[in-house]
Symmetry: D2
Subunit: 415 residues, 4 copies
């Protein structure tokens, strides 16, 4: 067999053979309906299935009316007419247990989703209605895809029996004064802010599992925190002079009709924007400060790219004294080797955004810089999947006691 | 409920209510693990499952070592290092029964697929080997993604217990003199040509179900024949002056390094190519001639587009005497209303290639022309899915006795 | 020397040799008005001025206050904040005699053009003002880049000493009832309509030369009429069943913020639009009917392409009885051999839109169809240059007595 | 008048008014060699010719057989069949004095340029020949667009009466051991290396003016050095921890058929490449070390973008002690206010690559970072123009005693 192409698979393959004594894949395949998506999931699945089927502790420990495993979860999508809403629908098309029974879109009330997103016309969906007409007693969970600002009051008014994954920025900043400073408006649900759990799945999994309201991370913060948090927690990199040069596809700007998002204004060019002032800055700094237990101030420069989806963060850091690039690699390797969606590539392999397009993966790698003592860290995600709706689904799976990967088995669409 | 957005769904919804008495979706969902992908499949699924689970007749009627339903099918991918090969792998990532156990790629022998297609590194796959080293006793079926020319001898040499779906052009033309004329080389497996079934699933389903060797259609011919064959069979359009203006994404040219396929040569422009001489012409004319029971000569002009995937055929036809556009619409509607992957849009709705990107759907519609008596027919597919690997998988599902849509439930990736 | 790569150059080269006896290129450059690219403006310039200065007949025959050759023409751009306005500015950056002294843009009044089009910040331009504040006594000519509808009254109110090239659709249709039918509003300047000359330069050059108000053609009509009018005039093609499949870049939709023009809605896909109902239909039919002296009804289907600029019309026609493809080729060759901007390519060479991007050229060619008696005609232009601002400048050059190519010597930007 | 949109224009406008007392634009044109855009070629032209014809000092100060001003310069393009070669031809199409009389391309010998670059078919050019067949006595200057490695011996063998601008990397590194280390081959013309002048026009203008052989800078080094060299020379930024995150269009990879440059591999994605090992690193470090008079080691990470042309360098630096962002801005402003092609934008305005596409401009700006004491510097160019053929022409203009901007007046093509 060739040298493994990721840090993860190398480790996993040996695990498998240790576990099942090298018996054929056929045997493995019987153990799970979901044996397909890599060795990792098959194994993990047994663990997951065990926890779902046989660990009532987990289920009972959840306070909020968890479904019985295998039962259908009735899902509402609030703000279904934007890109993150439609992406939820796309992903749920292959989810075995989540069923959309409510969709709201105030300005498109009365229309079918297929009429605004023809790529989803084959899906069996309720028509969109105004949020004021929604009957929340008929849903078990909601994805909230509304613009920031209005979201706080809407979520605060929902029945507390509902699980909520909020894709807006409204509950991401624990410190509501930060929210007010960066969003220029008062926080309207400070109590709920205290309850909300930040939904960076691989970092805060156990908190999310028991959460009722999850603040789904922003796309840039996801791409930045996944590699940096483990390294900061371990003290392997300096907290000073973290320089983040991020590149994003245009879908992050949403479906609103803006001159700056026109094809003619975007194609065949690149530009920085929101230099030092992008609203994802406080979210990134919050996460990195938590990880390093000290206040971190970052340099963050986002760039708008001529592509619909995809995001790369190229991160320039100083390593801690005595630390080398191999230390960084090994630490990320051990941190993420059991993760399905975070993949540390084989050494020297460069992550490309197109290799995660449409999928929930984050690919990353670390590189020695030419300047001694420095490292370059690259991570790529699909901004609409791991950076938004995919991670939201991963979180709701977790919150409802299902395997995290349900509905998320799509491989990247390439070319 | 809004006016239905497709011809199909309108009909199906009433069928459902007729069948299940309007009981809730929960009930329906119990009847199938696959209830998710639209009403159509849920119903159809019952039929399919019935046939899989409970109609041994179908299974036994197959001569070629059909798997027991629910058993894993061991699949080989010959020529795995090209785009159609990688696309097979992508689709099988969500297939519950097909497992890839053999991959060949002569020039990449010894490498992992992940090393040439990093977007698939998370898949658990055998390394690629040279085709001469393949042990065909360990596979039940193969997708053949090799270049035309060499394919004929390779397939002829395979054990006849194998099911074969050939994605090359080598067995598409029944008349081997046509093959020799358009491909400038002798046909090397004329006997096998007689056995091969043309794999246009919705048109030749019953033949494919019992076939051992299926010649998977070309991308252009799929997009052209799906709308035209029913209309020609019904005598609703003239056989003369069928003018086909097709537009294709660049992936159709494959992954070979050619100057003409460079980003810089393709981006931000369009050009016709292969005017009157494209090798898909005889395949199209064969199908249309069969349908109309007369020799059809078409005007066919393909265009290369600055997009990776997607294909549109804009087809200009003369209607038969006394026929109007409504007749065309109604005929296509009734012909395809039970099909999962062929969707006649609601009247006046224009198909967009981006609405089928990455999916196995063909969207189509018909429009009255400004010139009296003429009609404009538009169909769109993803050239790598319904135009290649997706239809190939649809065919193998059928050949192995499985529901056609397994592994094909992905909705289009948009934006 | 290689075989010539265009019909034109072959002829021109022999013309030149006939004229100058094969002496060196330096000599040749003096001898011909069609110094095309080679001899460059300085030298060429002397030649041009000579030819301009030496044909007083032309200058005097113009009724409307023609500038003296070599004098600066003060130009106004009305509606400067859109793409056709900025394109005028771009082209005039290399024009030796036209100087922009007035720019209007009601919603951007008070701003510099560089603030809305930073690619033009190095140009020395007056700030934009509201049209009501414009002093038209300070300009000699205007390009009118306003939306249709309002344009008629504005132009009617201008001093009649001004030369006007109107890029809107407001004066293109001679029959004002046609205007009213297709634009759903009354024509507000029917008298001026009678005076306006349709500005398809190569077809109506002599009329344009003496015109005061020119209605600049639409982009689609330019690409369609340039090849078809000569063929219809000569009776070489049938007037029936002319099928036009056109493909356009997105800039044709302008800079208005529309969801349908977003990058995410356009990239990596294609779609037809305005099937049979596009407003360029009556303009095309008017021109073709004039040419054939009979009423022509066309099939016209435009397609929106993922590119900013460029337009291809693929036109499917029936040849007249006894006519063959060589007849078409030779007729177009002789018709356009002296034209600088209309280029019939060498036989079998396929025009690509990217080969005219940013330039004022129309490349075209004719191809024999597979169906006997039919031909395929392909023409490509840049929709913003020959399809709008470039042809407008070509027309104003002509109207002011200058060589047509001033400011239009840019070669295409490729790649 | 609005607030000026660039640093430069503000200054220039006042300069002009100071100089000419506010008289009309006609007068202004005489007053400055840098008549920039405004006054248009004709007038400007007279000015240019006047200034050229009337400043014999400049002409005579050149040692190498300078043409008489206004005379035609016979130009050879060696390696004409690549993108930099075709770009030279495109730019010369509007050059008044440079005439291409020799083109070589070994593998395309005997072909016309129009046959390999149809966008240039209207140009009157000699056919391409093999370099061994070239008669260098018939040219006055050459642009050398050959691959690195072979270039050294070819240039060394040219008649020394020729002016040479070499676009390859072969003479950019003064230290030939650096060349050997980064290019893995011996330097074959070390003596000529001593004579070659590095062609970063705005930095080394006086050296270039008198040079016979100019090593034209690489694209990345141009974008990086133009903003950094003045700041380092002035001691305004630290030499340590200069972090350069660059983004380039694909045309930089040339026209060679490589899998990695296919449309399907590039579109809709981004990736870093050549991390720490790109061959432009030593060139950048050479220039920055010269400027700071100390050895500078940079962090340089290039990224491949889905666009044909354009390059942005986002540069993260530490300011020197006591220096603030205003100091940087003012220094760049005064350094470049008289330059035509280097434009410091108005404060806070963000440079976009699309605003220089196809033009010879470098737009730049500086921004305060969020981390105290740090600054973000952004510069954009067209990699094929200011980053290659445009700067080469600028240099040859200078070397031949012509105004630098001849043939370079094209404004950016946008959209």
């Amino acid at each position: 067999m060739m040298e493994s192409s990721t840090c993860n698979s190398a480790n996993l393959v040996s695990n498998i053979f240790a576990k099942d004594g090298g018996t054929s894949w056929k045997l493995r395949s019987y153990s799970s309906f979901y044996w397909k998506q890599s060795v990792k999931s098959s194994i993990r699945f047994e663990g997951i299935r065990a926890s779902v089927a046989a660990s009532p502790r987990t289920l009972e420990s959840s306070k909020h009316g968890m479904q019985k495993a295998g039962e259908v979860v009735r899902v509402g999508v609030l703000g279904a007419s934007g890109y993150t809403g439609s992406e939820i629908v796309r992903l749920l098309a292959t989810h075995p247990y989540f069923k959309i029974t409510l969709m709201t879109a105030d300005r498109k009330a009365g229309q079918s989703l297929g009429s605004v997103f023809p790529h989803l016309i084959t899906q069996d969906l309720p028509d969109m209605i105004a949020i004021k007409d929604a009957d929340f007693s008929k849903v078990d969970a909601v994805f909230c895809c509304l613009p920031h600002g209005t979201t706080q009051e809407i979520i605060a008014s929902l029945p507390t029996t509902l699980k909520v994954v909020d894709l807006s920025a409204d509950f991401r900043l624990r410190d509501t004064t930060q929210y007010e400073e960066w969003y220029n408006q008062p926080h309207r649900a400070p109590d709920l802010q205290k309850e909300a759990i930040y939904g960076l799945t691989e970092i805060l999994r156990e908190n999310i599992r028991n959460a009722r309201v999850v603040a789904n991370p922003g796309c840039y913060p996801t791409s930045v925190q996944l590699p940096l948090i483990p390294l900061l927690e371990a003290g392997l990199i300096q907290t000073r002079n973290i320089i983040i040069d991020s590149k994003s596809g245009v879908s992050g700007a949403g479906r609103g009709a803006k001159e700056a998002s026109l094809y003619t204004e975007i194609a065949e060019g690149i530009n920085s924007y929101g230099i030092t002032r992008h609203r994802h800055v406080p979210e990134i700094e919050q996460g990195l400060s938590d990880a390093s237990k000290s206040k971190v101030t970052v340099s963050f420069t986002p760039h708008l790219m001529p592509m619909s989806r995809g995001m790369q963060s190229t991160i320039y850091v100083e390593m801690a004294s005595g630390v080398n690039i191999e230390d960084l690699y090994q630490h990320l390797c051990s941190r993420y080797e059991d993760e399905e969606f975070v993949i540390l590539l084989q050494k020297k392999a460069v992550p490309h955004t197109r290799n995660v397009r449409g999928s929930n993966y984050c690919f990353m790698n670390v590189f020695e810089d030419r300047i001694p003592g420095r490292a370059i860290i690259i991570s790529v995600i699909d901004n609409l999947v791991k950076g938004a709706s995919g991670q939201a689904l991963q979180n709701l799976n977790l919150m409802m006691g299902y395997p995290e990967n349900l509905g998320l088995l799509h491989q990247a669409l390439f070319p």
